[in-house]
Symmetry: C2
Subunit: 459 residues, 2 copies
C-alpha cells in the first residue's frame, strides 16, 4: 500500500523549536511505573520522540529540550534522536522548574534571538498545526498561539487553558475563564519579546507560561491561529494516554485513495496489526518485504494446483494485502515515511502481482495443459501491471492524479487480491484471475476514454 | 517514443502578439510560383501558421496579423488557425505597406494599450526566444529586442540589421553598421511608446521599423535580450527556405533521453520519414497507432515460428521502433504536442512490448512445448514493463527523473527492440527475448541499488 510517501518538508525559513520537558508529570506517573512523563511510550515512540519528530517533519533542524525534574533519564533518548536525524539537540536545564513552565521557556532565552516554535513535551499533536503557525500571515510581528474552537470535544476541559477571542485577537486567557471561545493547545510560534513578558510575570510572582501569555494579551502582542479539525491532546493521565493511542490509530485510516476492500476490510485489520508491530523494531521497509514474501508464498502454493493449497494460498495472498497496509501505517506512526520506501513498496507490489498470476496459471495448466491457459495468464498479469502503469503515466504527464472514478477504485490492487481470495475459496482461482485480468484492461481503456473528450480543449 | 509532451504554457501574464505579414516578399516569390511569402510551406505548415503557432505555444491568445500587399489570400489560413486554436485572430490591413514595415506595426496602434510581442511573419524562430523576452526582468519599462551574438553564423549577414551593444543597452542599430556586436532577430517585446517612435521616424520620412527602433535607441528606451544558442532564420530566399528546413529537422534530434539505438540508428531514419509524413495530414496520434500496428503485425509473424516470418517480424518490429520516433517529431514540427498523445504513446508501447514477447514465446513453444518457455516469456515481458514502471514511479515519488546511467540507457525500448531484431536475423528471437528480459530485471534491481546509499540522507 503506497501511502507512506508524505515527504518531509524543509523550508528555507525553518524555525528552531523549544520543547518543554521539565515538569514532574505526577498525574500520569501514578499509572506509569515511575517513568518520567516525556519517556512514556505511545505506539512505539516516547512522547519526547514524538515531539521532536513532529517538529522535524515540518522542517525544524534546531532543537532545544528544556529539562528540570528529570534530566539524565532523557540523555539516551536524545542521543538516539540525534543519530537518527543527523542533527544535534541542545539540552537546557532549568533549575527553577518548580516555579512554573514559564521559567522553562525563559531558560532558552540566551540561545534565541529570533522567532521559534514552542511545544509542550506532553502534547500529542498533528504536525500540520505547526505548519499552520508558520504559514500565518502575521507571524513576523506577533506571537501566535494555536487554539481549538471545538470546546465540546476537549478531553479534560477542566484542566485546559481557555481563551476568549475577538476575531483572531486574544482578549483573555486563563484556566478558570468564562465564557470562552476556544482552548489553548500549548503550541506557539514565539517572538523574542515573549521572554520579557515571562520575566515580568515571574517578577510579579507567577512563573507559569499562561501568566506570561497573559501579559502578551494585555499588550496585544499575541494572536490565535485556529487548528480546524486537526488532532491534539494533552497527555496528562492514563486515560488521556489511551485516548491518544486511539487518536493515532484513527489517523491511520485517513489516506483517501484506499480502494473499497482496503477501506472496509483491510484497513480495520491492518490497524490492529500495526498496533502490535509498532512495539517491534520492524521498519516499514521490512514490513514491505514481509508482505512481499507472504504474497510469493501464496503464489507458490497456488502453483501446486490442489484445493487445500489453493485455499491456503488465497488466505496468504489476502493476508499479504492486509500487511501491505501496515508499512505505510508504521511509517506514519513512527515518522519513518520515505520516498524510497514508497517507491520500493509499489514496485514490489507489481512483482508480487506477477508471481500470483503465474502461480495460478501454472496450477491450472497442470490439469489443463493448453497454451491458452498461458495466454490468459499473460493477459491477466499484463492487465494488473498496465492498469497501474497507465495511472502513473497519466500523473507524470498531467502532474495530477487521474480523475479515476468508481471503475478505477474497483481496479485497485486490494479489490484484485480480494477477488482472487474469493476465487481460491471457491476453488476457482484461474477463473477469478481471468475475470480480474480482463477487468483491468477495461480499466486501462476507460482511463483513456474518460479523458478523450477533454483532450481537444486541454492539451 | 514518448517525447511529444512539451506542454503549452499559458501564463497569466500572456501578451498579445502582432505578426507583420504586409510585405511583398519578392525575393522568395521568384522561386515560389507566385505564392505570397507568408503562405510558403515549410514542412507541412506555412510561415504564417508557424508564426502564429509559435506565439501560441508560449501562451499568446490574442493575435493581430497585419496585411498589406496580400490580404484575401490569407483568410482561409487564418480561419483554419482560428478553428484549430479556438481563438479569434484580428486581421489589420495596412494600406501604406509600401512605405515600410514600421507603418505595418503602426496599423495596430488603435488596438493596443499595453505591451505586446512583435514578430515578422517571414521569421522562423524557436518559441523559447519569446519566453526569453517575456522572462526578462526589465520588460515592464523598456522595449526589448532579441539579438543574436553569433554574428559569424548569420545566413545572410549583408541583409541583416546589426546592433552595437554596451552590456544589454543598444547603442546603435542599422543595416550598414560597423563595427557591430550582434544581429537583430526581428523579435520584439514592445511597449506602446514604440508607436510614437515609429510616428516620429515616419514623419521624418522613414517608415521602416528599424528607423523607429533607432529613435528608441536614442531615447535609451530599448534593450537587447540575447537568444543564446536558439535558432532563428529570416526566410527571404529559396536558399534560406531550404536552410530553414534543415534547421527544423536538426531540432528534431534534440531530445536528450534517446537511447543509443534511437540516437544513432532510429533518429536519422525517423527524421527522413517525418520529413515525408509532415506533408500528409497524418496526426501524431495516428502515427502512434501506425507504429503500434506495425509492432502487433511483427508479434503475429513471430508467433508463426518459421524463419522467413521471423525475419519479416524482426524487420517490422524495428520499423515500428523507427516510426515510434516520428509521432513526437511530427508533433513538434507541426505544433501538435499533447500530453494525451504522449500518455497514449507510452501505454501503447507497453502493450506492443507484451505482444512481441508473447508472439516470440508462442513461436518458440510450437517447437519446444515446455512450460518453462512460458515462464521465460512472462519473465521477459514483466522485465520490459517493470523496467519502465520503476522509472516512472521514481519520477512520481521524487519529482525528477531517475539519475539512470549507462545501464538505464541500455535498458530502453529502442535497444530492446533492436536486440530482438538482431535475434530475428540470427533466427534466435526467443534467446534474444530471454536475454533482454533478464537484463531488464537487472536494470530494475540496479535502479534501486544505485539509489539505496542516498536514502539515509534524503528521505
Amino acid at each position: 500500500m503506497n501511502d507512506n510517501a508524505k515527504s518531509h518538508s524543509k523550508p528555507d525559513d525553518a524555525l528552531p523549536a523549544v520543547i518543554l520537558a521539565a515538569g514532574e508529570g505526577n498525574r500520569l506517573q501514578k499509572g506509569n511505573h515511575g517513568i518520567p512523563k516525556p519517556l512514556t511510550t505511545l505506539l512505539g515512540l516516547t512522547l519526547l520522540e514524538r515531539a521532536v519528530l513532529s517538529c522535524h517533519q515540518v522542517g525544524v533542524q534546531e532543537f532545544y529540550v528544556v529539562t528540570g525534574c528529570y534530566e539524565k533519564e532523557f540523555i539516551p533518548q536524545i542521543k538516539k534522536l540525534e543519530r537518527r536525524l543527523g542533527i544535534s539537540i541542545q539540552v537546557v536545564h532549568n533549575p527553577n522548574w518548580r516555579e512554573g513552565n514559564g521559567t522553562s521557556a525563559l531558560a532558552v532565552s540566551p540561545y534565541l534571538t529570533g522567532p521559534f516554535l514552542l511545544v509542550m513535551c506532553d502534547d500529542l499533536f498533528d504536525p500540520d498545526i505547526l505548519r499552520c503557525l508558520m504559514d500565518a500571515k502575521d507571524r513576523a510581528n506577533v506571537c501566535l498561539l494555536a487554539v481549538d474552537r471545538r470546546t465540546d470535544r476537549i478531553f479534560d476541559l477542566k484542566e485546559a487553558t481557555k481563551v476568549r477571542l475577538n476575531g483572531q485577537a486574544i482578549t483573555a486567557i486563563g484556566k478558570g475563564l468564562t465564557p470562552f471561545d476556544a482552548v489553548d493547545t500549548g503550541l506557539f510560534l514565539c517572538q523574542p519579546f515573549m521572554f520579557q513578558a515571562l520575566e515580568k510575570a515571574r517578577f510579579d510572582g507567577d512563573g507559569s507560561l499562561s501568566a506570561g501569555v497573559g501579559r502578551l494579551v494585555g499588550d496585544n502582542k499575541i494572536r490565535a491561529v485556529e487548528i480546524g479539525n486537526r488532532i491534539w491532546l494533552d497527555v496528562d493521565t492514563p486515560e488521556s494516554l489511551s485516548l491518544a493511542k486511539s487518536y493515532l490509530l484513527a489517523e491511520l485510516s485517513k489516506p483517501s485513495d484506499d480502494g473499497y476492500v482496503s477501506r472496509y476490510i483491510n484497513r480495520p485489520l491492518s490497524r490492529r496489526v500495526s498496533m502490535l508491530l509498532a512495539h517491534t523494531p520492524l521498519t516499514p521497509n521490512a514490513i514491505t518485504f514481509l508482505s512481499f514474501l507472504l504474497c510469493l508464498s501464496g503464489a507458490f502454493l497456488f502453483s501446486l494446483g490442489e484445493y487445500i493449497w489453493t485455499l491456503l494460498a488465497g488466505l496468504l495472498t489476502q493476508l499479504s494485502s492486509v500487511v501491505d497496509g501496515c508499512d505505510g501505517e508504521i511509517a506514519r506512526l513512527k515518522f519513518r515515511s520515505s520516498r524510497f520506501g514508497a517507491w520500493l513498496d509499489t514496485v514490489l507490489d507489481r512483482y508480487a502481482d506477477v508471481a500470483v498470476a503465474v502461480g495460478i496459471s501454472y496450477g491450472y495448466w497442470l490439469t489443463h495443459p493448453h497454451p491458452l491457459v498461458w495466454l490468459a495468464g499473460v493477459m491477466a498479469l499484463t492487465g494488473f501491471l498496465l492498469s497501474s502503469y497507465t495511472k502513473k503515466e497519466y500523473a507524470l504527464r498531467y502532474q495530477h492524479k487521474h480523475p479515476g472514478g468508481v471503475l478505477n477504485l474497483l481496479g485497485k490492487r486490494d479489490v484484485r487480491l480480494f477477488a482472487l481470495f474469493v476465487g481460491a475459496l471457491l476453488n476457482r482461482p484461474f477463473e477469478a484471475l481471468v475475470l480480474v485480468g480482463f477487468f483491468s484492461h477495461i480499466v486501462v481503456a476507460w482511463s483513456f476514454l474518460s479523458i478523450f473528450p477533454q483532450r481537444w480543449h486541454k492539451t
